[in-house]
């Protein structure tokens, strides 16, 4: 796919990408490198992978990382219950232990986990490794190995070669420094909160029924809310929720209905502290700037 087409196709599935991101996604395919997305929570990192899978019409395989994530949960596991049953079933047949062993450690009893599943797909899937910074360093090293060789060795079965090279998207919120090796392996893109203008485009792409002036007001207001000293800065998802709520309440003009704005702020602000910080006077002041 050509680079210019990529941005259009992404827009077609409702993801508003700037040219830099389109470039990163294009390079990812042409250089066959993973893409590391960094940015605050809620800026739409995960959405990138979803949109990418959609435009390629391919499967999205997601691996959510957490502390203590190990190979069994990420790569493969044996189906122990079935193995036990199979041993029982073959007990009376007088088969040798080796034969039984060979049987129960075969493909039939293998449970695929996301990483193995991703490299065994016929059509290159999108592999989303979400919040890699939450996994341990050991797992990171492990992942790095898979991402450079695209093969997985299973002691009982042998080496599994990749049928196709997946499009790998990694996301990180920066709770832990990632290793330099992993960073070097990946292309990098920093996802920032969208500009006011871009957020208007996101709103109109996702909520086609929204009035453009309202979308502009919402984007302007949210941009100013983000500048306030908040514990949890609202992300794009929050903006979309709020906009949907306002559309549902048939609000046409934010400035004309400050009470509704105040009452619906719970869509944007997710902690009690932030709700208190955005008192009616503050909301009024911010609305004044939007008008």
């Amino acid at each position: 796919m050509e680079r210019n087409q990529l941005a259009d196709r992404l827009a077609g599935v409702g993801y508003v990408a700037d040219s830099q991101l389109a470039m990163a996604l294009w390079l990812m395919e042409s250089l066959a490198r993973p893409l590391l997305l960094e940015g605050a929570a809620g800026v739409g990192k995960t959405e990138v992978a979803k949109a990418l899978a959609q435009i390629h019409g391919t499967r999205l395989i997601r691996l959510q990382c957490y502390e203590g994530l190990d190979a069994n949960a990420a790569i493969y596991e044996w189906n122990y219950q079935r193995q036990l049953l199979a041993i029982k079933a073959r007990e009376g047949r007088g088969e040798s232990a080796e034969a039984v062993e060979k049987h129960i450690f075969s493909e039939e009893f293998l449970l695929e986990r996301p990483l193995l599943a991703a490299i065994r797909e016929e059509k290159p899937p999108v592999l989303l490794i979400d919040e890699i910074d939450r996994a341990d360093e050991e797992f990171e090293a492990f992942l790095l190995e898979i991402l450079s060789d695209y093969q997985i060795s299973i002691p009982e079965l042998g080496t599994v070669q990749a049928r196709s090279i997946p499009l790998v998207v990694l996301t990180s919120n920066g709770t832990r420094e990632l290793s330099d090796a992993l960073r070097r392996r990946c292309l990098y893109h920093f996802v920032d909160y969208p500009s006011e203008d871009k957020e208007v485009r996101i709103l109109t792409a996702r909520l086609p029924q929204i009035d453009v002036t309202l979308a502009q007001q919402i984007a302007g207001f949210v941009a100013r809310v983000r500048k306030e000293d908040l514990r949890k800065v609202p992300g794009v998802a929050e903006t979309l929720d709020w906009a949907a709520a306002l559309v549902g309440l048939e609000v046409r003009d934010l400035v004309a209905e400050p009470e509704v704005v105040q009452d619906t702020l719970l869509c944007l602000l997710k902690t009690q502290e932030d709700r208190l910080a955005l008192a009616p006077e503050v909301t009024q002041r911010l609305l004044g700037k939007v008008a």
Binding site: S19, L27, L31, I87, K88, C186, Y188
Partner: protein, 400 residues
Amino acid sequence: MAGLALTPEDVTPVAGGQLRQRMSAFLKILRDNGFLVGLEEAQDCLRFAARCDLSRPAVLRSGLRSIACTRLEDWRRFDELFEAYWLKRGMKGVLRVAGTPPKGRGARRLSEAGAPGGSLGTPDSTERQGEEGIGNPADREGRREGASASESLAEADFRHLITAEELSRVHELADRLARRMRHRLSRRERQRRRGRRLDLRRTIHRSIGRGGLPIDLAWRKRRDKPLRLVVVLDASGSMSQYSTFFLRFIHGVLDRFREAEAFVFHTRLIHVSPALKERNATKAVERLSLIAQGWSGGTKIGESLAAFNRQHAARVVHGRSVVMIVSDGYDTGAPDLLGREMAALRRRTKRIVWLNPMIGWQGYEPVAGGMQAALPYIDLFAPAHNLKSLEALAPYLERV
């Protein structure tokens, strides 16, 4: 010539060599500025540049940015460097930076990344090159003799404030602390031998010969890295009454802990673990006092921590590390630098303990600018003015 490599003519095979040259010079600038650009990345940059329409710098820019950047700092700096090199804008700033170790980024140079500290024991200067202190390894031995004869102020303080008996008690305490932690670790290992989780794969392997009855159970071990203690000691003038005391403590810690590292700073940071490998406590501490004395000027906590973060942190700090900073928080540098570096350190470690001898003083409030900036990133802010307060730390470290 501005935009020399950006005209379409240059993409012809004849000009391939020229593009290669221009590109490698650019990549060198990036490396000098701390970007992690290896051979593979360089090749990708070239492959990309050869394929794209160089008459449009915007395309080249965004492509190279994706390939060459590896983190947010790179991302933010890229435009400036790109414009300076390819478009000859704002040239001055970049030329100054190129070739010299980048500010705040030295440890990320490729050649050094992951190298197991070839510079062990050599003092690492932060930014300043002036040889105002001892700490040069070549000097250390020579000065030792000279200093032992001289009645330096640091030594006077040492004798004045801490008696020999007190000192040996500090050492004992460090010993005990270390032993308690080791005990905890070994207890954990025993539990592992008994097993926490069943290793199903191995259990099933073993049960085949028994008709599928899992009689021999296999247990899975949890692989735990031992906790590592990294001590960063402020040996500045305002801490002089305490630094000898803590040097002794650090020596005990290094002696006992399987994994421990120690650093001393004042206006710059020195990795002292190698100097402390001396088993004889008195000798080791003497050696350290020599390193610490003769330093002058203000305390640069922020700058020293920055040096720690970029030169040592990647090697000595991991997810199971506790960083113990011993300082009174009087920083003559900018507090926001200290805050930034604390935030960076915070991301790497499990716990940050800040021991402040001033807490023991009556009516002390942590109002020093530096202390204020550092507070949000500290897990335990504790007093450390006497043996008792140090002893109170042991239970905390055991729980980490």
